[in-house]
């Protein structure tokens, strides 16, 4: 063996403290990253488990179907209040949001798109309490402390979400689909509605569901608009209405065990609904976001 070959053997096999150190650091860092990944997922399980355990003793039919002032109190008025206000909010937001998203994706010039996207970014970043103040200042003087004001406050928060998801989903539709339709002589507006939007619809629906989930869970916009009440309110949007997040917020600091227990149970319901909605819409695309 030549001198030169021996040095290869040395280079490759001689124990080398430097490279041992480097490989040890490599191993350590890998463990650090693994531990961090574990930590990012841990809170999910902790919270779910904790809420579940604390809420369980308080779940019974009375809880779901009675109102707060009944002898065996429940949160029925909050459940349907949430459904009503979030539902109304979505009814308002969906057409405007989808229209805006379609416009930004299909028709706007790049300057308008830039402005529009910035607008959406800003509104997405608006804290929910500020949306609440806005509703309090502008809507309550006109509409009073009412479910109208509450729903509109929720609509303000959900509008940018729907607009953004619609725009992004519409952008993903391949140009060739639009071109094929136009080449057949179908007018632009029909193409957009019946072809492009229809193709993007599952994604648009996902956006709507996510926005709805957000609306159901919001507290701050409702605190000084719809305010919450102990009375059952069905379709009377002109007055105060109860909602599940309000129940949790109000009962959390209570002294009586029963109220706290109901807070837990409501939290479980809210959390379960929100998680179920999110899992349902994200499940289909679960693979596509990973390399």
């Amino acid at each position: 063996m030549t001198e030169a070959s021996k040095s290869i053997r040395d280079e490759l096999l001689k124990p080398d403290s430097g490279s041992v150190r480097r490989s040890r650091i490599d191993w350590i860092m890998r463990r650090v990253f693994e531990a961090s990944a574990f930590l990012t997922v841990l809170p999910l399980f902790v919270v779910i488990m904790f809420v579940f355990v604390r809420a369980l003793p308080w779940l019974n039919p009375a809880f779901f179907f009675n109102n707060p002032l009944d002898p065996e109190p429940g949160i029925f008025n909050a459940i349907i209040g949430s459904i009503q206000m979030s539902g109304l909010a979505m009814l308002i937001t969906a057409p405007i949001g989808i229209a805006g998203g379609v416009y930004l994706s299909e028709f706007a010039s790049s300057r308008v798109v830039s402005i529009g996207e910035t607008l959406i970014d800003i509104l997405l970043g608006v804290p929910s309490i500020v949306a609440g103040i806005f509703a309090y200042l502008l809507l309550v003087p006109v509409l009073g402390f009412s479910a109208w004001a509450g729903s509109l406050a929720l609509a303000v928060l959900t509008l940018p979400i729907v607009m953004r998801t619609t725009q992004e989903v519409m952008r993903l539709v391949p140009v060739s689909i639009r071109e094929a339709s136009l080449a057949l002589g179908i007018p632009v507006w029909r193409t957009t509605l019946l072809v492009t939007l229809r193709t993007a619809f599952p994604g648009v629906l996902t956006g709507l569901v996510l926005a709805l989930s957000r609306a159901l869970g919001e507290t701050a916009p409702l605190i000084f608009t719809a305010k919450g009440t102990n009375a059952l309110n069905f379709l009377e949007f002109g007055t105060t209405m109860n909602a599940m997040p309000l129940v949790i917020y109000r009962y959390a600091g209570a002294a009586e065990d029963q109220l706290v227990g109901q807070a837990w149970a409501t939290a479980l319901v809210l959390m379960a609904v929100a998680l179920a909605m999110n899992v349902a819409v994200r499940w289909r695309t679960i693979d596509s976001r990973v390399a």
Binding site: T2, A4, S5, I8, R9, E11, S19
Partner: protein, 289 residues
């Protein structure tokens, strides 16, 4: 299908392979070593899919060996197995043995990181590090080994850039980002940074395919120069390039299971003028691939 094991005794006249090769040559640099690569029964897998089937050949030191053949024959996979890059992909594995100057590269007490230091690689698309300057790109490998005094680092950078025929063009702008160069220059930068860590072997995976013809010729010229000091293995789709640049050629094809296998090896001049196997002849003549 007739297969010929490449390497063993089919190379007339030239220095025989193995450690003895060193003895028959003038060492151009005192610390340079033989740089002979021996492959025996090498197979490479992506999970359960076999991409390279039973390749055995010898790579001669201080020469350029070209791996040619149609796409999908596992040439790149084989190349990446030599410097243990193939296994960095999840689920990928290599069987068989690969020796460099008698050292088993896949031995279990060998750290792959050290293997990759001794065997350098240049990739298809030039990939200088965008957040590093030209200087830093070339010095990157040395920096990994610990603190080198700046004067020594400067020397290494200049030597490497000269070796890559890039020094004159960049000596005044060493602080500029590596990505500010043209495609051909970037590739030479990648060559410079590969040689900076003093490897024995240089692997090149279609190094010119992303470059224009002028840059390509420059790199080919560079490869011929580098062959004096390094063992170079180059994968190329361009047969003319293989005949211009290499001393030895190995021709690969795909078998029925879509695995690549070695059809024939030999001196470049012989493969291209008088190939032994009909399959090789058909490929050279452009009848397929």
């Amino acid at each position: 299908m007739i297969r010929v094991d490449g390497g063993q005794g089919t190379v007339p006249g030239r220095v025989a392979q193995g450690a003895e090769g060193g003895k028959h040559r003038e060492q151009s640099a005192p610390e340079a070593s033989a740089g002979t690569v021996e492959l025996r029964g090498v197979e490479a897998f992506y999970g359960t899919f076999r991409a390279v089937n039973n390749v055995s050949m010898d790579i001669h030191p201080r020469s350029v060996t070209a791996l040619i053949g149609p796409s999908g024959c596992g040439k790149s996979t084989l190349l990446r197995s030599i410097n243990r890059m193939h296994e960095t992909l999840l689920g990928a594995s290599v069987k068989g043995s690969i020796h460099l100057d008698g050292v088993d590269l896949y031995s279990s007490d060998l750290d792959p990181v050290r293997v990759r230091r001794v065997i350098g690689m240049v990739f298809q698309k030039p990939n200088p590090f965008p957040t590093m300057s030209i200087y830093e790109n070339v010095a990157a490998g040395m920096r990994l080994l610990g603190r080198t005094p700046k004067s020594e680092l400067d020397g290494v950078v200049e030597t490497s850039l000269r070796r890559a025929a890039l020094w004159d063009e960049v000596k005044d702008k060493l602080k500029q980002p590596g990505t500010s160069l043209s495609g051909g220059q970037q590739q030479r930068l990648c060559i410079a940074r590969a040689v900076a860590v003093q490897p024995r072997v240089l692997l090149m995976d279609e190094p010119c395919s992303a470059l224009d013809p002028v840059a390509t010729l420059k790199i080919e010229e560079l490869i011929r120069e580098l062959a004096a000091d390094y063992t170079i293995i180059i994968v190329t789709h361009n047969m003319q390039q293989a005949s211009r640049v290499s001393n030895h050629t190995a021709f690969f094809a795909m078998d029925d299971s879509r695995a690549g296998y070695l059809v024939e090896t030999g001196l470049t001049t012989e493969i291209f003028t008088a190939p032994k196997l009909p399959l090789t002849e058909r490929y050279i003549a452009g009848r397929f691939g």
